[in-house]
Amino acid sequence: MATVYINDKAVDIGDKKLNLVQAAELAGVTIPHYCYHPALSVVASCRMCLVEVGEKKPDGTVVMQPRVIPACQTPAKDNTVIQTATAKSKSAQAQTLESILLNHPLDCPVCDKAGECKLQDYSYNYGNSESRMVDDKNTPPNKPDLGNNISLFTDRCIMCSRCVRFTREISGTAELHVINRGSHAEIDIFPTEPLNNKLASNVVDLCPVGALASKDFLYTHRVWNLKTQDSVCAGCSTGCSIHLDTNKNVVYRLRPRENPNAQGYFMCDDGRLGYHYVNSSNRISKPNLKLDSGADISSWKDIMLSLRSELKAVASKNASGVAAMLSPFLTVEEGFLLATFIKSISPKAKLVLGPVPVVGEDDHYPKTRGSVPVNVKFTIRNEKCPNKKGIEEVIKHFEGEVVLVSDYLNKNSPDALFIAAGYQGEEVSWFDNNLLSQFKKIKLLITQDLFPSALTDASKYVIPSAAFSEKEGTFVNFAGLAQELHWACVPLKQVRTDGQVYLDLLERKGLLQAANIRDEISKSIPYFSRLAGGKLGSDGIHLVNLA
């Protein structure tokens, strides 16, 4: 039990080990800071978090220290007193801001960071409105090729050194360093060693000002026009919590969202920059039914009616002649609804798991030289799908066991196969030629996917899938953490979300409400029992107890 007094307000911080920035946060008081970041070591060099600190003595008197103290460096102890709003604290913070702005170009109108810039925010809240410097500012040259994805606007840098510490402590690749001294100090790379590690773009989020910019996002959008939605990265089974920044149904940017249950503070560049397929013009934009006559039908109403009756017809001839492939990109709700639909056609219908994309080995960070074992701070998983765990549990519930689609087709030849693919990504096909030829043997192929392929060409029914940014639902990551997707974009005009299609096929009325389906799943599948009520919160829920 420890009590800290922040601006005369007592806060019990328990036995948590906090610094004064964190302790003040508990009291709802923001102490401005640049160099401090909870995931990085403390250097206390920006001097933005200077506050007056003292101690409350047992007799109730308060003894303040004569000098201002950096809050990030000072541990919160019982009876610590912090004053953030006194003339002394305010003047120290204003002085630091004046110093930082001396050589800052103030090119906010053309700066990507404008609108979410800590320099703007703090200047407004803690700074002076005018600069007293009449001399020329330093104008170091920009470094547009700091990395393949990163550009450095050297003159905007405030030397907080977060990026340098990130590459040393989190990625372990140490590409960045400080060159020169004093006000000529700059962030730089070693010649021929650009900032190209797979976590590199995190330095853009870490940069509190507009110095480090993502080339992917640079000059594409003003941030105040973006709408931000909480979501989950679909790139691998780590399941990084993300912010999805969109405007008018176009995804512009993915940013990591702090989640101690999932990945922590960061995300990898593969995930961050791998969203472009969502905005692709090649996506399947409407449903299609190829009639034997060669004519095409693309009315949802007709297609739904025809699909249901054709499947029923197949099942009436051969009860185990119907199968469905559930891809590990489906949400838990989609998997559950499709499984329920297929089983309603025929209880003997088979549910199988789609191919699970695996690339190489799990990629652990920080990297080290030599073989010294390290404290792993970030892992990019080799399983390149977001919800294998969740879909497996759905299939297990209905089938008792999980069979891969290729294994199933090696031994069985169903008459009809509903392929719920929804594989995200445009570049790489999710099936190989073997699997394609097995698919092609099936008489009635129903394919639901994002992009046209040899498989959709061969399918009688082609149904468009929604991207992860266009739907709501649940992904379960490798460790059994259930996290919630929220829709951030509306799908194209003639595209229905996968879950909505299954709801329609089940002839259930209304629009898909993921929370209601989650609650329903929690009652029928024990593994998902913790989803009861349907609310996951922003940090998600662990479905199993952690070891």
Binding site: Q95, T96, S99, I100, M159, S183, A185
Partner: protein, 445 residues
């Protein structure tokens, strides 16, 4: 007062004074052998404590007390770093000691290591001190050959390894944690404290950092005793409860506009006026001093009227200087423009600020830009207020930086503006004419 006989500088003008044979024939290393044989490390620490020795690097922290900050019963290793990165402008006492009497220094280093229990000592010499580096390197080798370094020194269980290290020429490496970072192969950005080096220093081990002159004093204290040391110098000032007294001899460097610049050893507490007139041969060209920098650039200025100030740890503070500093007295005569003096000083600190803490990084550069503009004839009276304000804002004393470089960068600025304000104002007001005259004068120097 009887003439003071130098102790620390006794041997420097001898032939081959840097060779171990010469040193031993003068009675060198006897104190070390005696200490290892007859004294426990705790007794050495107590002796140094009793002598009242305070660090000669600039801050004047009591040396014996610093040693006791090491964790008790630490399994080791404990390191001793010798700070020979003597980079305060106009300071050269360490250089002379290392070049001319390296074994005196080395004996002090070995004694200090014995006292603090260090098994390894790093001698960090600044890049520019080639001769001093080579002299120390030779001395270390000779000491190894004579069994004064290495394993089981003089048959005792005390082992000490000495490592020479050359800096890469940066003022900030003289700051003890900057030195440690540099020693570890990193950028010399001073560390945040706590932990202090005595708890976690070089390579995350307990570390003591001492100055060359300090360890030379340690050697003399072992030889001549704490009472001898305490018989020299100035007792604590009763008016200043924080003053621990300034005992022992001090090496004063005299430079600038004097007839006889050089290094002299004198008891602590000599007045600046006496130092200049008696030991520096007076101000040159029969001029008067306009001012004096009492102990390296960062200490600020004394005006002519303040020259009776005593050069001990307590004296310079009484006239608004930062402290004694390194005891390097720089004189500038009354023909010198204070604008030029401050310009040089500001340029130095703007160049040497490591760039870690915002207030120092930006403040030193801003002060330089302002004084540069004033010097070129584009000054404004309000610039003086800005200079004074920035000078007051930066440093560990207001709490805005990690290390003391900024205190030292701000001090001369605020001292200069306060003590010579009228000259700055007339320089600014009289504009170009004055600037031209001064430029003309400068070209005649």
């Amino acid at each position: 007062m009887a003439k003071y006989e130098p102790v620390l500088l006794k041997r420097i003008s001898k032939d081959n004074s840097d060779h171990i044979d010469s040193y031993i024939s003068d009675g060198g290393y006897l104190g070390l052998k005696k200490a290892i044989k007859d004294m426990s490390p705790a007794q050495v620490i107590d002796l140094v404590k009793a002598s009242g020795l305070r660090g000669r690097g600039g801050a004047g922290f009591p040396t014996g007390l610093k040693w006791t900050f090491l964790p008790k019963d630490h399994p080791g290793p404990i390191y001793l770093c010798i700070n020979a990165d003597e980079s305060e402008p106009c300071t050269f006492n360490n250089r002379v000691l290392m070049e001319k009497d390296p074994h005196q220094v080395l004996e002090g280093i070995i004694l200090t290591s014995y006292a603090v229990g260090a098994s390894k000592t790093f001698i960090y010499v600044r890049y520019e001190y080639g001769d001093a580096y080579r002299a120390m390197e030779r001395a270390v080798k000779q000491a190894y050959d004579k069994g004064l370094l290495g394993k089981n020194i003089q048959g005792s269980s005390f082992c000490l390894e000495a490592v020479m290290h050359k800096g890469a020429a940066a003022y900030i490496c003289g700051e003890e944690t900057g030195l440690i970072e540099s020693l570890e192969g990193k950028r010399a950005w001073p560390r945040i404290k706590p932990p202090f080096p005595a708890i976690e220093g070089a390579f995350r081990k307990p570390t003591i950092v001492n100055n060359i002159e300090t360890v030379a004093c340690v050697k003399q204290i072992i030889d001549l005793g704490a009472d001898w040391f305490k018989s020299i110098g100035v007792p604590p000032d009763p008016a200043n409860p924080r003053d621990a007294g300034s005992y022992g001899p001090k090496l004063y460097c005299i430079s600038g506009h004097v007839n006889r610049p050089g290094l002299v050893e004198l008891p602590m507490g000599i007045s600046v006026r006496e130092l200049i007139s008696e030991h520096g041969g007076g101000v040159w060209k029969n001029r008067k001093a306009k001012g004096v920098i009492p102990g390296g650039n960062s200490m600020g200025f004394m005006t002519e009227a303040e020259l009776d100030t005593k050069l001990d740890f307590n004296g310079p503070g009484k006239v608004g200087c930062l402290g004694l500093g390194t005891g390097a007295v720089t004189v500038f005569d009354d023909h010198t423009s204070i604008v030029d003096v401050l310009y040089n000083i500001c340029r130095f600190f703007a160049h040497e600020s490591c760039g870690q803490c915002t207030p120092c990084r930006e403040g030193t550069a801003w002060m330089f830009k302002i004084i540069d503009r004033i010097r070129k004839g584009h000054g404004r009276i309000e610039d003086l207020n800005i200079l004074e304000e920035v000078g007051n804002q930066i440093g560990t004393m207001p709490g805005t930086t990690i290390c003391g470089l900024a205190d030292g960068a701000g001090w001369p600025v605020k001292n200069a503006i306060r003590k010579y304000r009228s000259e700055f104002e007339s320089y600014i007001k009289n504009g170009d004419k004055k600037v031209r005259t001064l430029n003309l004068q400068m070209s005649h120097h």
